[in-house]
Subunit: 470 residues, 2 copies
């Protein structure tokens, strides 16, 4: 099983069945997206009508390809899929990704029958099949993107920030659009993704089989899952327990809290979403973190990505700010998220008072005032606040609009980010992309949503408690 998931996710040879020179259609776009990245394996277009596709020699069938094929990407009409999968099996193909729609999710008997045939053929030949109705995947380490998602096409930056060697995030999603949207939203925040994998109808292979494989592989430190349903509860429980034991957090959105959401999922991937309260209880039991919006998921992942190895020992937060107004607002948001914002201890306050003008405040939130930020800097204030025995983590409120002041403080900031307590940054102005990059290099996630920032810390506190409860 694991060997075959390697064939699916880390293939050395790939057949693209249905590959086309027409870049306006999925059959052409998928090959183009793949060729836009420096994947080191070999790609073989399979086409009945072209001898060459997008500069590559094409083959009339999978069987005609001159070496064993690890993975076949099937971008052909639903009706043609079972026979093609049969041919793949006969040719010794180890894994297949079915991108087309028109199977069980279409609602009719014909689609269900097609999907049943896919399952039977896959089992008979021992092929690992992802989909149908999937949008492919991205394996960033392999620079392999067999997908038509525009999110990984013409990116303009590397698939992952080159300076990130740990804290990788894998997206596993039952929706292609939502799965790749997490990459699309997270990449400009310098979030390092290991994989984005979309599973569609999950006829053979479900999300948690993939999570299980990625836990084995050991290159992923945070999971982001988009779930409409959980198809194998036993597997879910085993994998969730494994992830919790390994300290690899799973952040999920689970669709179906409304009747309309349940209806949508059934039509989308044939998913029966189930009872939302039961799912909520199940997630809580396994330390699985629920998020509410795409950015919320990305922001939670960003916090775990950088500070997952230093979860706060408790829920007491220190807040330092250049904006007195921002300090009060964030304090309210932290308390609403279940955190505490206690008064700092007298020695810490004395150190802060020596650097803050009289119209500021050292109490917590620390209103440093713009003047102290200019004179002492964010790093020095963060260093003093994080040193207080009264706090388990710190949020610094910054204006990340301009990069220059952070450039000056970069080394000091990096030293604080490497310390034992998490220090998050929330910018009340829109950050400049250069500031985001600089701060990421210094070891910081930079939040723009104060609610997500507060929730991220609360989630870290809860996750630590869930691990300790085990």
């Amino acid at each position: 099983m694991i060997a075959n998931l390697d064939a699916l996710l880390s293939p050395k040879t790939i057949a693209v069945v249905g590959a086309s020179p027409d870049l306006r259609i999925f059959r052409g776009r998928t090959l183009k997206v793949m060729l836009g990245h420096p994947y080191a394996g070999r790609i073989y277009p399979v086409s009945r009508s072209h001898a060459e596709v997008q500069g590559l020699r094409a083959y009339s069938s999978v069987a005609a390809i001159p070496e064993p094929v690890d993975l076949a990407i099937l971008i052909i009409p639903a009706e043609a899929v079972p026979d093609e999968l049969e041919r793949c099996g006969a040719a010794g193909v180890k894994a297949a990704m079915i991108l087309g729609s028109g199977f069980a999710e279409a609602g009719g008997e014909a689609g269900k029958a097609l999907q049943a045939r896919v399952v039977a053929i896959a089992e008979r030949h021992g092929i690992v099949v992802c989909g149908p109705n999937a949008e492919g995947y991205a394996n960033t380490a392999a620079a392999l993107c067999p997908t038509f998602s525009p999110a990984v096409d013409n990116l303009g930056v590397p698939l992952t920030p080159p300076w990130r060697t740990r804290g990788h995030v894998a997206v596993v999603a039952q929706s292609g659009g939502m799965g790749f949207s997490m990459f699309d939203r997270g990449r400009p925040k310098e979030l390092p993704f290991s994989y984005v994998i979309t599973t569609g109808n999950e006829a053979c292979l479900d999300c948690f089989a993939i999570v299980d494989h990625l836990l084995d592989e050991g290159k992923t430190d945070v999971f982001l899952l988009y779930l409409e349903t959980i198809r194998d509860l036993g597997r879910f429980e085993r994998v969730a327990a494994r992830a919790l034991a390994a300290g690899v957090p799973i952040i999920v959105v689970k669709i179906g809290t409304s009747e309309a959401g349940r209806r949508a999922s059934l039509a989308h991937t044939g998913a029966v979403t189930g009872d939302p309260a039961a799912y909520r209880a199940l997630f809580r039991r396994h330390g699985i973190i629920e998020a509410s919006d795409i950015d919320d998921m990305v922001d939670l992942a960003a916090a775990f990505s950088l500070f997952g190895d230093r979860l706060p020992a408790g829920n007491r937060i220190g807040i330092g700010s250049a904006s007195g107004g921002g300090g009060g607002w964030l304090a309210d948001a932290c308390v609403a998220a279940g955190l505490k914002v206690p008064l700092l201890d007298a020695p810490t306050r004395a150190l802060l008072d020596a650097r803050i003008p009289s119209y500021g405040s050292s109490q917590n939130p620390v209103d440093a005032t713009a003047q102290a930020i200019v004179q002492a800097g964010y790093a020095e204030l963060a260093r003093l606040i994080v040193g207080s025995p009264e706090v388990d983590a710190v949020i610094m409120i910054v204006s990340a609009r301009l990069t220059a002041s952070f450039e000056k403080e970069k080394d000091k900031l990096a030293a604080i980010a490497a310390g034992p307590k998490p220090v998050l940054l929330w910018s009340y102005t829109l950050p400049h992309a250069d500031t985001v990059r600089l701060l990421s290099q210094a070891g910081y996630p930079l939040f723009t949503s104060m609610q997500s920032c507060a929730r991220a810390l609360a989630a870290m506190v809860e996750y630590r408690a869930a691990r300790e409860r085990r």
Copy 2:
């Protein structure tokens, strides 16, 4: 009173007391920010040490300025403010903005005494005084920005989108940082701001006196308020009732739901925040909308800015999507916000089914599939959904990453936005700035947060109900 607020907010002549050539300090920055905009009035630096400041002739005192002064900006140490204000009064200055800190918010008796002197002098001379401890303001129509906020410095785009002739948003804030952050976050979303006004300690002039004045002026269609306290409850009730009668929504954040937030506000502007539950009830009674985060405030304002004159008749939402997964997620978010996502009527579904492939769905959420978006377009699908008698408003889920497809549909989209029901767009990918601009020109707010999008519609429904309850 109104005449004097004109002197404060729309002056013809301004003295900048304390103006400096040093651009690293507030005294220099404020003049620089002012000179960076094509303000048509006359600006007079007042300096004891320079004959010329930033290319303008400087005067040794306000009295030496050769014409009557409407507004004096005081950027001088707190201890020097009362005497300077006295001199302004003697010279016939009509209004003053005090940017410096060190008054009642500093906590000591000396600061309180200084602030009391300011009040007494202002009353004796009949000067309208804004602040102290304020961050100035921006009057976009006058291109006037007496503030040191970087948010209106070197903007790179006009202060308001030139194509927006209605739906203007005024920010009135007891925090300079938070007030200008709303501008900073909203301007890239093409939100048209009329004013950003920061009031600091509100020694003489409070937020609601300013709202009252702006209602008289009639150029503002939505208010965004950052409040730590309400200093004159009677005035608040009169002004809130007036705004509701005029159909100008007020969106607020009120600090102080936590002990730490209350502490922060007291230190920040000397504000006693009061009982959060009582405030919540007060806001509900007056149809005032509470928001939770900076982006949430901006997003709510964006919806009212474009559709405030066509509030939805009820809470039934139609959802159209290229992403089936996005449809389910957004449906859940809408229902969580108090909206309904009903099944569409049979005639509308028949029209949709003719354009959607069999593996999509016309039920609601309408899963149009990427194929139907390419073939029929967002506009055609939105037109069909908004035509259903079962829905009061529509959210279209789009990918605004690329601009080209919207360019083609621009006129059709504009026609739908001009219709009787609100149509909002939520993008699951990060929008390109060109798409945001194009859609704004077509009459659409473009949301990136699905929760804010759902809340915006819910707020519009509630606001209509509050108006009808009156």
